[in-house]
């Protein structure tokens, strides 16, 4: 009798699988599931990858097919599903077909897809081994199972994928045998589910699994029971919102962001006619880099070119914090500090870092060192450095959190590279509630400069 042509699956003769291989059963069930759902072929994309099961893409000639890299088809399918959030919705249904090897190497893709609850359906063809490459064991191989790489029997327990993905809050999980009459219905329900759905299908590899192990259809069920793996539908959480719904809710609730306030440019330009390089150093959490940024915005308001680069230990919240700054009336090329003009040190952490990174070795006779006065006592080497020193009670008067900014303000009061109004311009770009402590530190810094010796030593 002539075979009724399927809207989905190629004629039976085209199936490339070994006699008795479960893959052939699963592709037939998938085709029946698609027929049951009456899905137009162009609304389905089959994502496959490496392994005998990966040959399935050529068996569904009317579906979109994407044949990918080993174990990654879940991630490629996730990307395709995510794109629905940006495109005019098409209702595309990605179906992923992977083996137990692919599920092992691509486990994190499964976990993330489950967490996102993206609308993809994954069929894991679990025959307990890598068939295409010669029957090696996988993370899903049962204990005692003989494979090419466990000739004396596998001694690690198999991964319980369904339980694991339950912990990742998967919305639809089921575990079936390839021979189950209900498999087509389960696959259809999985595809119809609007979020992440996974069906793990136990099957036989007749090339290796049944050759090396006493395995038949009925002993397969015993084997699965021995491993403590429960069958059937395990988790259906219809109440869990699918990714697209959640994303659209998020988008609808997104507040329109006010554009960042601009730094008003000054009519008085900075009088600087040369490049000036400075470094500000202190302790993490003491607003060193914020002070540097404020200063850079002030320089920008005064019509200068500025570069700023920050450094801190990888832990972010402890140790030193520093900023290297270049100012120039012309565009700046090299952003390093071959020889700093000004060094501002607000704390011992900052001092130690500048000593360690060689900044002090690069100071010249003309370098001005503005430092917290306690550092002279703590680090006797400070007295021997090249350049001029201006010790000030930065931490004592302006508090540790204001010390760096006060140091900058003190230096600028003595050497007015920027017009005084530049600070106000920079502050104007900040929210009002943040300005007061900064204004305070700036005022204290200027006062310290007034009481400082006329010529730094």
């Amino acid at each position: 009798m002539a075979e009724k042509p399927s809207l989905y699956l190629a004629p039976e003769a085209a199936l490339p699988y070994c006699r008795g291989c479960g893959h052939a059963l699963v592709v037939r069930h998938l085709s029946q599931a698609l027929e049951r759902l009456k899905l137009p072929p162009r609304s389905v994309v089959l994502a496959t990858d490496i392994g005998c099961v990966g040959l399935a893409d050529s068996l569904f000639p009317y579906l979109h097919t994407v044949h990918t890299t080993h174990g990654r088809s879940t991630a490629f399918a996730t990307g395709m599903a995510l794109a629905e959030a940006v495109l005019e919705p098409t209702g595309l249904k990605p179906v992923v077909m992977i083996g137990d090897g692919g599920a092992m190497i691509g486990l994190l893709h499964l976990v993330h897809a489950a967490q996102l609850n993206v609308d993809i359906t994954v069929l894991v063809h679990n025959n307990f081994l890598f068939g295409m490459t010669g029957g090696q064991h996988s993370a899903f191989t049962p204990e005692g199972f003989v494979t090419a790489t466990t000739p004396a029997g596998n001694w690690t327990p198999p991964l319980d994928l369904v339980t694991l993905l339950g912990a990742a809050r998967a919305g639809f999980l089921a575990r079936q045998y390839a021979t189950d009459a209900a498999l087509a219905e389960v696959i259809a329900d999985a595809i119809a589910y609007p979020g992440f759905a996974l069906v793990e299908v136990f099957e036989l590899c007749t090339a290796y699994g049944t050759r090396w192990n006493r395995l038949t259809g009925s002993s397969l069920k015993e084997l699965v029971a021995q491993q403590g793996l429960e069958m059937g539908r395990r988790s259906t959480r219809p109440e869990r919102p699918a990714f697209l719904d959640l994303y659209r809710q998020q988008q609808a609730g997104r507040e329109k962001k006010a554009p960042a306030a601009e730094v008003p440019p000054l009519t008085t330009r900075a009088a600087l006619d040369r490049e000036l390089r400075l470094v500000v150093a202190g302790s993490a959490g003491e607003r060193v880099q914020s002070a540097a940024s404020l200063f850079c915005r002030a320089a920008l308001a005064a019509g200068l070119y500025v570069t700023e680069k920050n450094d801190n230990p990888v832990t972010q919240g402890t140790g030193f914090s520093l900023a290297e700054i270049c100012l120039s009336p012309r565009p700046i090329e090299y952003t390093g500090l071959e020889s700093p003009d000004v060094v501002i040190v607000a704390s011992a952490d900052g001092w130690k870092e500048l000593a360690a990174n060689g900044t002090f070795d690069r100071c010249r006779a003309g370098t001005l060192l503005v430092l917290d006065e306690d550092l002279l006592e703590k680090f006797p080497a400070a007295a021997r450095l090249g350049g001029r020193r201006l010790p000030l009670p930065l931490r004592g008067r302006a508090t540790p959190a204001g010390a760096a900014l006060a140091g900058l303000a003190a230096w600028l009061a003595l050497d007015p590279v920027l017009p005084a109004a530049a600070w106000e311009s920079a502050l104007a770009a900040l929210p009002e509630e943040r300005r007061a402590p900064l204004q305070q530190a700036l005022r204290l810094g200027r006062e310290l400069a007034e009481s400082a010796p006329a010529t730094p030593s």
């Binding site: 050529s58 994407v66 990918t68 990654r72 940006v86 993330h112 990888v314 565009p331 090299y334 952003t335």
Partner: protein, 365 residues
Amino acid sequence: MVAEGALAAGCRFFAGYPITPASEIYEVMMRELPAQGGLALSAPDEISSLCYCVGASLRGLKAMTATSGPGWALMIETLQYALMTETPLVVALVQRLGPSTGGATQGAQGDVWLSEFSTSGGYTVPVFAPSTAAECYAVALEAFHWAERLRTPVVLLSDKEVGMTSEVVEDESLPRPTQVTRPRFAGGRAYLPYGFASPEEVPAFAPVGGDVKVTVTGSAHDQQGRLRKNSPEVLEVLRHLERKIAAHADEMARVRPDLDPGARTLLLSYGVTARAARQAVAARRAEGARLSFLQPLTLFPVPRRELDWALAEVDTVLVAEENLTGQYRAALAPYLGKRRVVGINKIGGLISPSEIIRAVRAAEA
């Protein structure tokens, strides 16, 4: 500015994973892309990041991710997949000190080989390298242009010093964005997903999920996308992957030349080191020296025509770059003839203008 350029180029999909010094691009895209109607997403690892980008690009979206050396190492298999399947995408690779975890907050230019010579089979991946914030923007536009135009992955090779230094950018210095999208299949004939009129041109694109059946495969394939071994058609498709890039190499070449027609010495540098080089060139010229300078923004394909122009009168070439082995110098070597070639190399810190000046003086002596 890489993110700004990507947004201006029409990027509508971004998947990222945190890594210094590329995290700022990730953060800006997470903040700004949704407001532009795009999707930015946190992936659970770098392999997933790039796979998500490929998936989104297969549906027609302009897609990008950002990473640094360690993450890039994880992405390479997927990069090759994008190359084989002619899937446009952009990877912003912000270099840091290697190998391995290296120095997360230390700059370097040591991933030139890793970005270009990472495909099995040895195909050319376009690589662009900016030296300033403004160039980051310009090069991001170029990267998307060529990714789409030639249906290829493109690497935007930045580094920690360029990527994490704040600087003033003048609006008028930024190029006006243009929207280039991959050529679409217009219907009217049977669709060949990998069919091309000539090997220098790209197949027309049809999105997964559209009305036309699409077959995508990373395996060696014929023009229909069928897995085949060494048939003449498959080999023609493979040769086409290289020929489409080579045929457009001159068009893709972006350089900043500063040539002195009488100079016998050419200094060449790219990325952050080009900044110190420009300063060194100005200083040497102020001392009366004759010196030419060339900064390639397109590292690969090597801008041969522009290089030949710059080399015409030159007998000594200095290449300054922040790696130990002279990665770009080695890549240029086949095109430099019998000229004397000197490397200016260093790791662990910026190469300074005075270090370059010293090397230039020594070479001229």
